[in-house]
């Protein structure tokens, strides 16, 4: 089997998931932690890294479950329930393992894991990979790219919000108001990437 074209397609899908099809700024999935945990660059980094890890691994896991269990049994319609169960169980498991064996990683990533268990970006990516009929290798690229896109978006947002912390914002816009406006402007900026890549 020649994996060359697969890998190059995975690469293209990955890049487009980071920029043109950014899961956060093009689809507005995973907004809740994006708004809630973007006050400092440091915490945003931890959350972003956790999202990259969980998105990549759950996409792979869900691909296997979907193609080797659900499709075989003709139960594709169950994917919503099963995906979320698998994501929740996997995240829980990872948290336990980190907690036990790697205090360092637990401190950096682990504390954020419960926050993203039921994040719609994670479920959304798994569902997109089914709708778009990605192969396993492309799915890896897609999961990683989506996570990286989310990471970049929250990093940018946290950076902007840190700068804003000392600025005078009109009272009615303070807090979520200005944050949503920034998110909208960032989404417009990311739209500028469309056309860079024609791949999906």
């Amino acid at each position: 089997m020649n994996l060359g074209p697969e890998i190059s397609q995975a690469f293209i899908v990955c890049i487009s998931a980071v920029f043109t099809q950014n899961i956060l700024l093009a689809y507005f999935l995973g907004l809740c932690p994006f708004l809630g945990v973007s006050r400092e660059v440091k915490t945003a980094t931890g959350l972003g890294l956790a999202v990259i890890f969980v998105l990549t691994s759950t996409c792979m896991l869900n691909w296997l479950v979907y193609h080797y269990i659900l499709v075989l049994l003709g139960l594709e319609f169950f994917r919503f329930i099963l995906f979320i169960i698998i994501i929740a169980a996997f995240v829980q498991l990872v948290e336990m393992v980190l907690d036990r064996y790697s205090p360092f990683l637990y401190q950096k990533l682990g504390v954020f894991l419960p926050l993203i268990t039921v994040n719609c970006a994670i479920l959304g990516a798994s569902l997109f990979m089914v709708i778009r009929d990605y192969s396993f290798i492309v799915t890896i690229g897609y999961g990683f790219g989506s996570g990286l896109g989310w990471f970049l978006a929250i990093m940018a947002m946290a950076g902007i919000r840190q700068k804003l912390a000392n600025d005078r914002i009109p009272q009615g816009l303070q807090g979520p108001g200005i944050t949503l406006i920034i998110a909208g402007l960032m989404a417009l900026a990311f739209m500028g990437f469309s056309g860079v890549l024609q791949g999906r």
């Binding site: 931890g46 049994l73 169980a89 829980q92 401190q107």
Partner: protein, 367 residues
């Protein structure tokens, strides 16, 4: 068709079962930290089951650490020194700890997990903290949104507290889908009455515990609280006192005034109490009886803007403005403030401008 449904249900439930089983097995092997020893103040060791957070572990050992948020890491009250075994500082703790605290190993006990043997330091006064069962003896309306609750102690039957301290009242589950919560309230009763406590509570719209107290709690009901906590207390010297309070901030000040009367304290004291309209003032009679019974006490009620149909010949404006007008010897006074964060911050600003020393300003801020 039926077969399809059966297969579907069987598949989903078996996948669910396998995952749940896997998690249970992992939990058994991974999250099982076995018995852990916690050394407290180098004086005694307790052996606990590891795996939980330090706050709830200590509560299960009947050592009560103040906490207003119930272990969610949002109130920052449950600080303890953890000298050994706590692991690195978590990002969830950082916002609540100053650099100084971080360096002296202070942690939020609700975020520290008991993974192994720990060495901790608990301020000795917290050992006096106990859980009390009490019975609601009376509920009196003070204003449209402030009530005074009296609780007779059942078990243990006596409480010993320093005037100014607070307790944490447990609101039980009173509506479907609710949960138990602890909320902190200052004790307002006469400290010589050790068989009961009195609280002055203002209804917070949407508040879990205040809604319970206002709508569900009836005379005769049993409730639990733990305490006493807090280091808001009168100092032991002769400097003149300025009390400033608003609304239910009356509670600890009232308790302190009872105490001054009981102990024959001769300090000069002035009490500025603020309200928006005249009908929000309360316990006026009690305050005027303190004026005649205490050596040198003046009560100054201040109404921000009396309503059109109210007659008011006392001071008007904000309570902080009244303090600014009336206080002549601010630099030699000690100030005791109690009320909302807005009131306290404004009062501190005014007092500092008038020349009161920062270390002579004590407060209990409701947040």
């Amino acid at each position: 068709m039926v077969l399809d449904i059966l297969v579907a249900v069987a598949v989903v439930s078996s996948i669910g079962t396998v995952l749940a089983g896997l998690l249970c097995i992992c939990e058994h092997f991974l999250a099982n930290y076995g018995p852990c020893r916690i050394n407290i103040n180098e004086e005694r060791d307790i052996t606990v089951v590891g795996g939980g957070n330090l706050l709830s572990t200590l509560i299960s050992e009947k050592i009560f650490i103040p906490s207003a948020c119930g272990g969610r890491g949002t109130c920052g009250l449950c600080k303890l020194k953890v000298l050994e075994g706590a692991g690195p500082l978590l990002p969830t703790e950082e916002p609540y700890l100053s650099d100084e605290e971080t360096q002296s190993d202070v942690r939020l006990s609700c975020q520290v997990k008991v993974r192994g043997d720990l060495k901790i330091e608990i301020p000795p006064e917290l050992f006096a903290v106990r859980e009390y069962i009490c019975r609601c003896a009376s509920i009196i309306d003070l204003t449209h949104d402030i009530k005074q609750f009296r609780f007779e102690l059942v078990e243990p039957g006596q409480i010993d507290f320093v005037p100014g301290q607070y307790i944490q009242l447990l609101a039980p589950v009173y509506k479907k889908g609710g949960e138990e919560v602890y909320r902190a309230y200052s004790i307002s009763s006469d400290p010589s009455d050790t068989n009961s406590i009195e609280l002055i509570i203002r209804l917070v719209p949407g508040g879990i515990c205040t809604t319970y107290c206002f709508e569900c709690l009836k005379v005769g009901d049993q409730v639990k609280f733990n305490g006493p906590y807090g280091d808001f207390r009168l100092s032991d010297n002769d400097t003149p006192i300025v009390f400033v309070a608003g609304g239910s901030g009356m509670a600890p000040i009232k308790c302190m005034l009872h105490h001054m009367k009981n102990t024959g304290n001769k300090r000069k004291a002035t009490y500025h109490f603020g309200a928006n309209v005249v009908k929000e003032l309360f316990l006026i009679d009690l305050m005027s009886s303190f004026e005649s019974e205490l050596e040198d006490f003046t009560f100054v009620p201040v109404v921000a803007s009396p309503a059109a149909d109210e007659s008011w010949d006392g001071q008007t404006g904000l309570v902080t403005e009244a303090v600014q007008r009336n206080l002549k010897n601010a630099s030699e006074c000690e100030a005791y403030l109690c009320g909302s964060a807005g009131l306290i911050d404004a009062a501190i600003k005014v007092l500092m401008e008038l020349g009161t020393k920062e270390e002579a300003i004590f407060y209990d801020k409701f947040e």
